[in-house]
Point group: C2
Chain length 244, copies 2
């Protein structure tokens, strides 16, 4: 019987792979995924067959992988970060009922909220929200409403997909909404190319954030009212009362 | 010069360690952390010295680790799940200004929202909130407010620390608040002992969730209005329009 592993590979190359993910990749007869992710993992398994497809062909890739698994092959579908957080586990499982012969296992990975958070320090130490600013699959009104609710609840925020060529103004618009209720001095940060060549980051204020020129390889963090900059770090205290 | 690695080890034993985390553990002269986490990792490094302390001694442990690193040793402080999400990165970084000789690196790991999510399927495929129900360090009123804002924004929810001996009624109270605005048929799930012996999980409705007898080793997932059960899986669709 075949099996489909949906594998979160973490943000970059093999450094962020868990032992569980490595085991799944080793067991697979074939790797599949977006070309960039296949290329990141390729050096670990130079001889393993791979089926790489360009972006925006997600549903075709899911169907192909389920067909292969139903047909008896073991397939590892690669997701950047985690398999579940804006990953491929959702679309695969939505289709899975049509492929009853395909056994499926979701293998979690380190999503950008965690890997980017570690670069900045500990911005998500307390309750937080993760919101994607991409309106490809979500109406912008829903995104706006979620931003407002997140501020209202004084959550720390992690924003995925802050910008792309087609969405250059989204981060600025999001900052405008956050600034309606949160002060311009709120501690924020961003990380670019996490775990890859050219990784960079910056800690800045909410007032400054909207002016940044970021791209689709950036992850943005917005502090809660208690988030502070401590030396080079962005930290949301949990309330241990360290007196630091 | 010494160095302090704050390492997220994932939910269980070595299976969830990333390559980066393994490297940090290998470089360390000494491991430190809550006894249970040291015991989980111990089989990988049977001969490495370890400084294990009981729970609720967090600040002592942080100070000790920073002193060691400032004094020239390389220390790995173990955190369950991620180093940042309700982990030790926050308290360590809050104290770090007092130990300028200690170099610090935060090493991310797979937090229970991701590892538990993978067991259930893909409950956090779209925008989500993570909230701890522990009122040890947070006033219950803040927790209630965040639950209300999360429902208002139609986020999927992951709840940490749903219960403990001292907080047996918190999950039930939380469900009561969520039920003010979200229907009792909302798809929910929980996972217990993720990645450890005795792992178990259940998918159920929000109406049923408040009656469950869970413990501090459980992580709870509450769906958004679009979350569905698909076969054995809990899935929050992202909107790829799969037509499944």
């Amino acid at each position: 019987m075949g099996k489909l592993f949906i594998v979160g590979i973490g943000p970059g190359d093999g450094a962020f792979l868990t032992a569980q993910a490595r085991l799944a990749l080793e067991r697979a007869d074939i790797l599949c995924g977006y070309t960039v992710y296949v290329d990141l993992i390729r050096p670990l398994y130079p001889d393993k067959p791979a089926y790489a497809t360009p972006m925006l062909k997600e549903m075709d890739r899911c169907r192909w992988a389920l067909e292969q698994a139903a047909g008896g092959r073991t397939v590892a579908m690669l997701c950047s970060g985690d398999a579940g957080v804006y990953g491929m586990a959702g679309p695969v499982l939505e289709l899975s009922g049509k492929f009853p012969g395909a056994e499926i296992e979701v293998v979690p990975g380190v999503t950008a909220a965690l890997s980017g958070g570690a670069v900045l320090g500990a911005p998500l130490m307390h309750d937080f929200c993760v919101i994607s600013l991409s309106d490809l699959l979500t109406p912008w009104e829903t995104i706006e409403k979620r931003l407002r609710c997140a501020v209202e609840g004084d959550f720390a925020l992690c924003l995925y997909n802050p910008c792309s060529r087609r969405r250059s103004g989204h981060l600025k618009r999001a900052c405008g909404i956050l600034l309606e209720s949160r002060g311009p001095e709120t501690v924020c940060g961003w990380v670019r190319n996490i775990g890859r060549e050219g990784q960079e980051h910056r800690i800045l204020t909410l007032g400054e954030l909207g002016l940044e020129q970021l791209d689709m390889f950036s992850t943005v963090f917005v502090g809660s009212s208690s988030t502070r900059q401590i030396g080079p770090w962005m930290v949301t205290p949990r309330g241990y009362g360290s007196g630091a």
